[in-house]
Amino acid sequence: MLTDRERTRYARQIMLFGDAAQERLKDAEVFIAGAGGLGCPVAVYLAVAGIGTITLVDRDEIELSNLNRQILHWDRDIGRTKIRSAGEKLTEINPDIRVMAIEAEIGEKNADQLVGGADVIVDAMDNYPTRFLLNEVAQRKGIPLVHAAIRGLHGQATTILPGKTPCLACIFPCAPPEDVFPALGATAALMASIQATEVIKYLTGTGQLLDGRLLLWDGGSCRMEEVAVAPNPKCPVCSGSRAADPETKKKRRKRQ
């Protein structure tokens, strides 16, 4: 049940979704991987929308060069962990929700446990090895994965529904070489906003999801395009051989 305070706090979106949908948001748990450029705005918009439990995981400390895009971290937070900073701010932004801020590096050993029984996983990572791990967890547990990534004025996003849409490894079988990417806060905010919208749509059963489509944003020409994506029948992660062939898996990891 929503409290009177919640009914007032969320009045403008209850106009949009109704009481029952707002309760679904309250009952939901969303796992956000990363408290960086994408993770900060995703967490802010999911917190203010009244997602009942937000689990946020990150391993890093805040550096001055993060501050052009990671909006939950401020000048005074330099040197603190992203998790402490984000946890505090989110709780202040909306004290009516539960924020589980966990300082950890997401790895093969802890990914399943960290994700737990979340209703949705938000991919706000900055590298493909961890994205592929989250993709495998999502497939194994049947949890939707809302993916986004940014570089400079460019962004991409898609919503992965296990068993229904291609998985991340169908679309991107190989990680690109690691590099230091250019990043603009406004690009991250736009893609993160798309992710938050997808999460809220999924949980409330509203509209049409970004499933089976890769959205490609080019801020330079202010164009949003999309590419239809299809499952790869030979995908080592989702094509039925769920316990991915160890050789293929090894090869993929090596390339990262």
Binding site: D126, A149, H154, G155, C174, P176, A188, L216, D218
Partner: protein, 93 residues
């Protein structure tokens, strides 16, 4: 001659532009189109090809909306009017 329309995304767009109309000999393959494309821009070869001339594995190739594996690009023929989308996995977050 046949003409294929190549659409590029993310950092590939910064190298080649958003769209390239590429004339090719009849019977050309997807790999042939990539070879034709890379010579058009400085840095093009390094962006899409390995030192041995093969297409870099992480590059996503889609012919008329259907994914083509990089190692099979040399066997997939193109027809006049085909559209080839080429993009990298964007990685930042």
């Amino acid at each position: 001659m046949i003409t294929v329309r190549i659409r590029l995304f993310a950092q590939f767009r910064e190298i080649f532009g958003g769209e390239v109309s590429l004339p090719l000999a009849p019977g050309s393959t997807v790999a042939g189109a990539v070879d034709g494309l890379v010579s058009r821009a400085p840095g093009g070869k390094k962006a899409l090809l390995e030192d041995d001339g093969s297409i870099r594995e992480f590059v996503v190739l889609m012919r008329n909306g259907k994914r083509i594996e990089t190692n099979e690009a040399g066997t997939v023929p193109l027809a006049d009017g085909d559209e080839l989308a080429i993009f990298p996995p964007v990685a930042g977050g």
